[in-house]
């Protein structure tokens, strides 16, 4: 057979797909299920292994990864198509879909110019105050609306400030990094604050209910987690300023020019006011009605209202929302549920406890370490939501208090500070081309230590007051 360069190229490009499926076939056909693990659970773990390889190496598009998750569950996972379908769409997936749609609706209103003006009025022109303001505003807003929306709105403000700085790009590297990381890390630390701060939070809430582990209301979540956001804000500001010392202490010219630029937007319009009111209503709905109607349904009501009042059109939503990601989350949650139902999650949880018991004899500490380490490490390679979708069922089967372990796991999944892929806010600032991959490492290890310390404090001193 003649092998052309095109065929070699295809194999080279798709080698991780071939490796994933080959490994899956070897385990499925030749390696017996380990003792204590049912054959159904073993097959589900094989599917998860193949999927993790595909997500990490991306030899095929994400929607294709989602599709293979569905058909493998039916072909080798022992599930019926209806079973897979029933777990596919849940309130968590509604929320992910709704929050992406809301982001499109809100960002297109041009409210970022108002936001810029507001921040500058508060911070003035001192660089450290601007960095502090960016971090705090990004954290607080992202805790309610998610980091993707806030970063999309804040990045133009930061880039405009950088552009208006009367110095060359080469001589303002520290300033640029400080401003961009204040948005990215601010939005990331904030995203754990409330359930609506990120898809992963809602995935965990969904698992709690699905697995019969209890539940947390919107306000209860805030009570338990928000103190950590408040502790982390000043520490993050300190880390950013120390890691990326800005070359200029005062941004007089840049702030003045930004104010002039923003002033061109004119007075706030009725449309903008109405958008703010609508979004505030969605927030209120999340806080007061999510227990009854689900956080995802309320997000969808918000999208419906934005569309019904003509504030956003379907074309903009359908073009800008990555439907493949929604498909993938649906599929990942369905396999997560299957992992629990077949006993695969319990087996993995037991195995990790057994392996680490020699090193950490105290079972409560061990459970906490496993839940934090599993999510914290995985989230630097996968997205944080995918991490919780896969790691969640394992963590909830470790024993102990599933609410506390689940919260630890979700919080740790926001520790994706080391790479540009982990958090949407990090990916966005990386895509600006102004920060480099090593910058994430320079600041990331400090952020990770600070976050682990904050989580430890929270779990030792704050959570015992509630549970």
């Amino acid at each position: 057979m003649h092998i052309s360069a095109d065929m070699i190229y295809w194999v080279q490009r798709k080698r991780w797909l071939l490796i994933a499926f080959a490994l899956g076939a070897v385990f499925y056909l030749f390696v017996p299920s380990p003792a204590g693990l049912s054959i159904e659970a073993y097959h589900i773990l094989i599917i998860i292994m193949m999927t993790l390889i595909l997500i990490l190496k991306e030899p095929i598009p994400l929607p294709a990864i989602a599709l293979q998750l569905i058909f493998w569950q039916v072909i080798i996972g022992g599930s019926t198509p209806n079973e897979v379908g029933s777990y596919f769409m849940s309130d968590a997936v509604f929320f992910i879909m709704g929050s992406l749609m809301l982001a499109v609706a809100i960002v297109s209103q041009g409210l970022d110019k108002r936001l810029a003006l507001g921040i500058i009025r508060i911070t003035g022109n001192k660089t450290w105050r601007i960095v502090a303001g960016f971090t705090a505003i990004s954290a607080i807003l992202s805790s309610f609306v998610g980091p993707h929306m806030i970063t999309a709105m804040m990045l133009p403000v930061a880039l405009t400030l950088i552009r208006f700085t009367p110095k060359s790009a080469k001589s303002t590297v520290g300033l640029t990094s400080a401003l961009l990381f204040s948005i990215a890390y601010g939005a990331t630390i904030g995203s754990i604050g409330t359930p609506s701060g990120g898809g992963r939070n809602v995935i965990m809430m969904n698992y709690w209910v699905e697995f019969g582990s209890g539940s947390l209301s919107y306000l209860e979540w805030i009570k338990m987690v928000y103190p950590m956001v408040l502790i982390e804000i000043p520490l993050t500001i300190l880390i950013i300023i120390k890691t990326f010392p800005p070359e200029m202490q005062i941004l007089d010219t840049a702030v003045r020019r930004l104010s002039v630029e923003v002033a061109h937007a004119g007075k706030i319009s009725a449309r903008e006011i109405f958008s703010i009111i609508l979004f505030a209503a969605v927030l209120l709905g999340w806080i007061s009605l999510s227990e009854k109607y689900g956080i995802g349904s309320i997000a969808l009501i918000g999208v419906f209202l934005f569309m019904a009042f003509g504030l956003v059109n379907w074309k903009d939503i359908s073009t800008n929302v990555n439907w493949g990601v929604i498909l993938l989350f649906g599929a990942t949650i369905s396999i997560g549920v299957q992992m629990k139902n077949t006993g695969g999650a319990a087996w993995l949880a037991g195995l990790s406890v057994e392996l680490l018991q020699g090193i950490i004899p105290d079972i409560d500490t061990l459970r906490a370490v496993v839940s934090v380490a599993l999510s914290g490490i995985m989230s630097n390679f996968l997205s944080s939501s995918a991490t919780v979708a896969v790691a969640g069922p394992i963590v909830l089967n470790l024993g102990g208090d599933p609410i506390l372990l689940g919260l630890s796991s979700v919080i740790a999944s926001a520790f994706g500070y080391f790479t540009a892929v982990a958090a949407p806010a990090c990916t966005i600032i990386y895509a600006s081309g102004l920060v480099k991959a090593p910058d994430f490492l320079r600041a990331g290890w400090k952020m990770a230590i600070m976050s682990i310390a904050s989580l430890t404090l929270l779990s030792l001193l704050w959570w015992p007051l509630f549970r």
Binding site: L62, A152, L155, L159
Partner: protein
């Protein structure tokens, strides 16, 4: 899919230069423009940016759209705008090129790439393209789509670990700029053997040498002391071709390991031209080829002709 050309229209050569930033790509663009002028070729300039993680694609796209409303353009567009400015400076005699202006809003999205629409571009012979993804894959797609004859790669893209993929998978000739110094007077070193691409290498070498007035050397290397009729015939053909164009050449016949001999002979003052390998792709994948090894081991600009 390759674009179709009218059958009777003589097809001008098309060269593609990959740029990454104003800081690192100035020399690449300079040589790209120079080589394109030697061959009177169309010049495409492509910026290949990193593709955002697909998980966060929505967020990145949304942010980019929002940045547009603030008149902040894609970093790749900034590089392309700079590239157009540089090309105007380098080709100041090209009146059509001088007339065109860059507008980041005038773009056309097609086939997974963004093409900047340049007004009055008919006579300018320049195209500006933005792509996102893995470098070799995007260059390959662009070359296939527009049927480029030569890809010019250098600066920050000149990474040795990419040598294998670039040479094996790009379906055009490739010029890799390694430590290219524009003010240096290079000697053109043409590697001559019995491969199919030698004839085209000779043809291209003659055009470059004539235009740039570089002295020419041909080198034929045999593993044994005996030079077969294929090698001898190729060397004679090269001599004849250069003579017919009034270009003097020095011929060298050396014995030894071909790659090691090429690299030692080239030193740091030659501009090397060699034919692409005719080895089968599987062997190339596992064992490499003369062009791949030469590119990995040498520190001079190399043009691999396919």
């Amino acid at each position: 899919m390759k674009k179709k050309h009218a059958q009777n229209e003589p097809r001008a050569l098309k060269f593609l230069t990959a740029v990454s930033s104003a800081e690192y790509s100035k020399l690449t663009l300079q040589l790209g423009s120079l080589i394109a002028s030697v061959f009177d070729a169309h010049l495409g300039v492509v910026y290949v940016g990193e593709k955002a993680n697909e998980f966060h694609g929505t967020s990145v796209n949304l942010t980019r759209q929002n940045l547009d409303t603030w008149n902040i353009i894609h970093p790749g567009m900034e590089v392309l705008e700079w590239a157009l400015g540089e090309l105007k400076k380098l080709n100041s005699e090209n009146k059509d090129l001088a007339k065109i202006t860059f507008n980041p809003d005038h773009v056309y999205e097609e086939d997974g790439r963004v093409r900047v629409i340049l007004p009055n571009e008919k006579g300018s012979r320049v195209e500006l393209i933005l792509r996102e993804g893995e470098l070799v894959n995007e260059l390959r797609k662009e070359i296939q789509l527009e049927a480029y004859d030569l890809a010019i790669i250098g600066g920050s893209q000149n990474k040795r670990h990419l040598a294998h993929s670039l040479i094996q998978y790009l379906p055009s000739s490739i010029l890799v700029l390694q430590k290219f110094k524009p003010r240096k007077k290079y000697k053109l070193l043409l590697l001559v053997d019995d491969s199919k691409a030698t004839a085209k290498s000779v043809e291209w070498g003659a055009m470059i040498a004539k235009k740039l007035n570089w002295p020419v050397r041909t080198l034929t290397v045999s593993k044994t002391k005996r030079f077969g009729s294929g090698y001898q015939g190729a060397a004679d053909m090269a001599k004849e071709y250069f003579d017919s164009r009034g270009i003097e050449i020095e011929q060298f016949f050396l014995t030894g390991d071909p790659v090691r001999t090429f690299v030692d002979f080239a030193g740091d003052d030659h501009f090397v031209i060699m034919g692409a390998s005719t080895l089968n792709p599987v062997k190339q994948l596992f064992f490499g080829s003369k062009p791949i090894q030469t590119l990995k081991q040498s520190d001079v600009p190399i043009l691999i002709v396919r």
